[in-house]
Symmetry: none
Amino acid sequence: MSDSRVSSVIQEWASSYSGETHTLTHSTPSNQLAQMDMMSYGQSQGLGRGGSDDMMGLSYLPYTSSSLCNNSSAGSTNHHHSHANTQQDFSSFLLPTLRAPVNKRSISKDSAEYRLRRERNNVAVRKSRDKARRRILLTQQRAMQLQEENQKLQMRIGQLSQELDSLKHILSQRHLQGAEEGAAGASSI
Amino acid sequence: MSDSRVSSVIQEWASSYSGETHTLTHSTPSNQLAQMDMMSYGQSQGLGRGGSDDMMGLSYLPYTSSSLCNNSSAGSTNHHHSHANTQQDFSSFLLPTLRAPVNKRSISKDSAEYRLRRERNNVAVRKSRDKARRRILLTQQRAMQLQEENQKLQMRIGQLSQELDSLKHILSQRHLQGAEEGAAGASSI
DNA sequence: CTGAATTGCGCAATCT
DNA sequence: AAGATTGCGCAATTCA
């Protein structure tokens, strides 16, 4: 099938993924509800549920947070409708750290530009994931291929080794023969 | 690993569902939990036809967003890609189990049970993805390891081959020697 | 049928 | 600034 001979692919991803051990800012998105017209939280507070490194079982905690909110309503079909979301949020009180509500450019979710950006990102995300999927698949196939090749090589090695042993044996025999001959010719020490 | 790429989407089976009266006082007085996210996007409709034929014909189209919003009091991202084709369906007669989506038990998003289920799924999802990540990493490492091993094996093979050639050569020499000795008498090296 | 595991997708924060 | 990545939650499916 795909006889992609790419034997250097590894290098590729290796280079693109190696140097990291890794950022993982893991910035716990822990934003408990927040947002209405502006997103706040500039960065996440430290706290990244990192502590859960119990042995093997990572405890997949419920994160106790979660949240996103979106208002926007965008009149789907073709209506002028606006939205009536009215979502007040008091998160400002809850956020322990950072208060940067003074947000950076409020990007209303209703904005056409916002939608445009989202759509572009969605496309990018799909593309990226598709790429990732292909990469993974390729790596798997390559691994299998390499394993197969490995077995062949091992067999070849066994074969050569055996052949070599045979020849060595033969040679040693000849050697003995030669020795005998030599000894016979001068066995008078 | 079944990657059924439906792509065609469309077909919004009328959201049906009994739109529940959604009072927008989403306030969740109860414990924590609160929130929702939402949207319904204004359709994309862009369909910039033609242009985006990136790569091998895969064009990450905006999906013609087939999303329609569902009811849900809180509204939440919904993308139903139900590929219910437009075939008439007799299933209702034949399979008591297959039902039109319309009958889904309306599980209000505010329900505590709903949240519980969501949270559980979220945990499962994180777990699953973690597992996948580890698996991928492992495969990559295995591939690298195999490649490395392969090179060593190839070298070993080269070595053995060379050695074998040497011995063969030597043996051929001896053979000549033996022949000479046998034929003539003694013309050692 | 129930619950966990997967999978595709959109969102938002980052990284490049 | 714009695309690429990545962690996360949602919902539809698939597995057990």
